[in-house]
């Protein structure tokens, strides 16, 4: 069964999904649906759905949540979505981009799994991140925004990602129109404005372009409607927060350390 297709769970049936470090179980017991999840210590490159044959196979310490629906024959669907907050991407090493140059980075972002329920119109049942991301702050200590922290190698070739089926690839193009080289250590991407496309090989977000014009000026961010890397792809989830196509925002963080004591 395709991971992101609609499905039904028969009474007494249990399905297990493995999405990266997330193990997700869903069981139909009489008129209730039970959902449980667990995380492994490492982010494994896996995306699979299997039927649990025997309850002996289930981990003992699982804690289940009970969900009640009117119609026991309700259809469900797992939908891959982007995180619910902006993501601060920290490349392993600081990056310097020369003036009047542009570069495309392919960020791999963990999937947020939305369990949708309903036969005709589907509603959100439960949402679970496939990887628990650490919180981080983008801005100074008095103003800024709460984001998720993501350490990535900020790869410049899609092939270098390998077979990353459990992550969403977000292409970010950075254009430096400032008079000095752009030296940055953190990049804030507002993924809540992005859609998720399902391609034959990968999950994609729409393209993001950031135009940098200098320290004193805010960056211009463009969210494109399309995804250009795979010809046949479908929209799997729409953006959480619709935005204008172009917005002006602070996107880069240059100050690395914060050393106030007492």
């Amino acid at each position: 069964m395709n991971m992101w297709d609609e499905f039904q769970i028969e009474n007494g049936e249990t399905i297990n999904w493995q999405i990266g470090s997330l193990s997700l179980w869903m069981e139909h017991r009489d008129e209730e649906f039970l959902i449980s999840q667990a995380y492994s210590d490492e982010d494994i490159n896996v995306l699979s759905a299997t039927q649990v044959r025997d309850h002996v196979d289930l981990p003992e310490d699982l804690s289940w949540n009970r969900y009640i629906v009117q119609d026991p024959s309700t259809k469900f669907q797992l939908v891959p979505a982007l995180p619910d907050r902006a993501v601060v991407v920290s490349p392993e090493f600081p990056i310097k981009l020369a003036t009047n140059s542009d570069v495309v980075f392919y960020m791999s972002i963990p999937v947020w799994v939305q369990i949708m329920a309903g036969n005709e119109k589907k509603a959100l049942f439960k949402e679970i991140p496939s990887l628990v991301l650490s919180n981080t702050w983008f801005g100074d200590t008095m103003t800024g925004e709460l984001c998720y922290a993501l350490t990535t190698r900020a790869l410049r070739k899609i092939e270098d990602h390998g077979d990353l089926r459990h992550r969403i690839i977000c292409p970010v193009r950075i254009l430096n129109l400032g008079s000095e080289p752009l030296d940055f250590q953190n990049l804030c991407v507002h993924v809540e404005h992005l859609m998720v496309f399902g391609g034959a090989e990968h999950l994609w977000s729409n393209d993001v372009s950031i135009i940098y014009r200098g320290d004193e000026q805010p960056s211009e961010i463009r969210y494109e409607d399309k995804m250009q890397y795979e010809t046949e792809c479908v929209i799997l989830s729409s953006e959480r927060v619709p935005s204008q196509k172009t917005i002006i925002s602070k996107s880069f963080s240059f100050i690395k350390s914060f050393t106030a004591f007492d």
Partner: protein, 286 residues
């Protein structure tokens, strides 16, 4: 006797008086309904743009003004001469002013507090050892709900003269964890371990980076400070998870957290102190 009471009532309940009573009732009902309607629309329109504090002040000002107007209209219906009342009110005002200096001081302090915007409804403040969530900032006092669910009223005058800590003014905070480790421990290893615990805890912010300080060589061990940043609403979960994880990791790695103790040495490298009995053993000592 009964006839006298009855005739007295008949004199009061005249058609003219009944009209006045009805008019007063109409003023009260329509006035209060109109006030409620205005307050509802004010709350709805201000909700998106203004703080809870500003909405509360505007609503209170509107309520007091409307109630004053209703009172004036009622007095007018009763043919009370307003000029005389206002004159009397002026004299009474002076007398009341002298008698209520504390209240006036509180009101002036309240005006300063509101204009200063040091805190607003919903903030968590600490005043004189009391901490809680602000329920309202009024002209006379600030009302807070403590975390053990007690209602505390703090006069504005006291807030002006006392140090007030607004815990939730800024969006992120630092949790300082003071630790003492035994002298025998490897400081680099402990530092590495503490930063690893912080990095793995999803509630601790990656940026600003955690702070690690070797504070001093204390009486019982090396005193350390670990400062981790967190979003202001995550205080309890950050503190509890961090404390638990530090204890578990220290136990697992065999890192000693020394309790207060006193060791006696005769020198830097020495044998234990020798104890020598002088004199004969007392006869009755068992």
């Amino acid at each position: 006797m009964f006839e006298e009471i009855l005739s007295g009532i008949e004199k009061i309940i005249t058609p003219a008086n009944m009209i006045v009573v009805l008019k007063i009732a109409a003023i009260i009902v329509i006035g209060l309904l109109f006030l409620r309607l205005i307050l509802f629309y004010v709350k709805r329109t201000m909700k998106k743009r203004f703080s809870q504090q500003s909405i509360m002040i505007v609503r209170k000002l509107l309520s007091y003004t409307a109630l004053f107007i209703i009172l004036i209209l009622i007095l007018k219906q009763l043919n009370v001469k307003l000029a005389a009342i206002l004159g009397a009110a002026g004299i009474a005002g002076i007398a009341i002013g002298f008698a209520s200096q504390t209240s006036l001081s509180n009101i002036i302090s309240g005006v300063f507090l509101i204009s200063e915007k040091a805190f607003t409804v919903g903030d968590i403040i600490k005043v004189d050892g009391i901490s809680g969530i602000i329920l309202s900032v009024d002209l006379l006092s600030v009302k807070i709900r403590t975390f053990d669910n007690q209602y505390v009223r703090i006069p504005n005058e006291k807030l002006i003269n006392t140090e007030v800590v607004n815990v939730t003014k800024f969006p992120i905070r630092r949790l300082d964890i003071n630790l003492t480790i035994a002298y025998k421990e490897d400081l680099s290893r402990v530092r590495e371990l503490l930063l690893e615990i912080t990095e793995k805890n999803p509630h601790c912010l990656d940026n600003p980076e955690p702070l690690f300080v070797i504070k001093e060589f204390g009486d019982h061990g090396v005193e350390l400070l670990l400062g981790v940043w967190f979003f202001k609403t995550d205080y309890l979960v950050t503190k509890n998870t961090m404390m638990q994880e530090i204890k578990e990791h220290f136990d697992r790695e065999g890192i000693e957290i020394p309790f207060p103790h006193l060791s006696l040495y005769a020198g830097s490298i020495s044998d234990p102190l020798k104890i020598q009995m002088i004199g004969n053993k007392p006869e009755n000592l068992h």
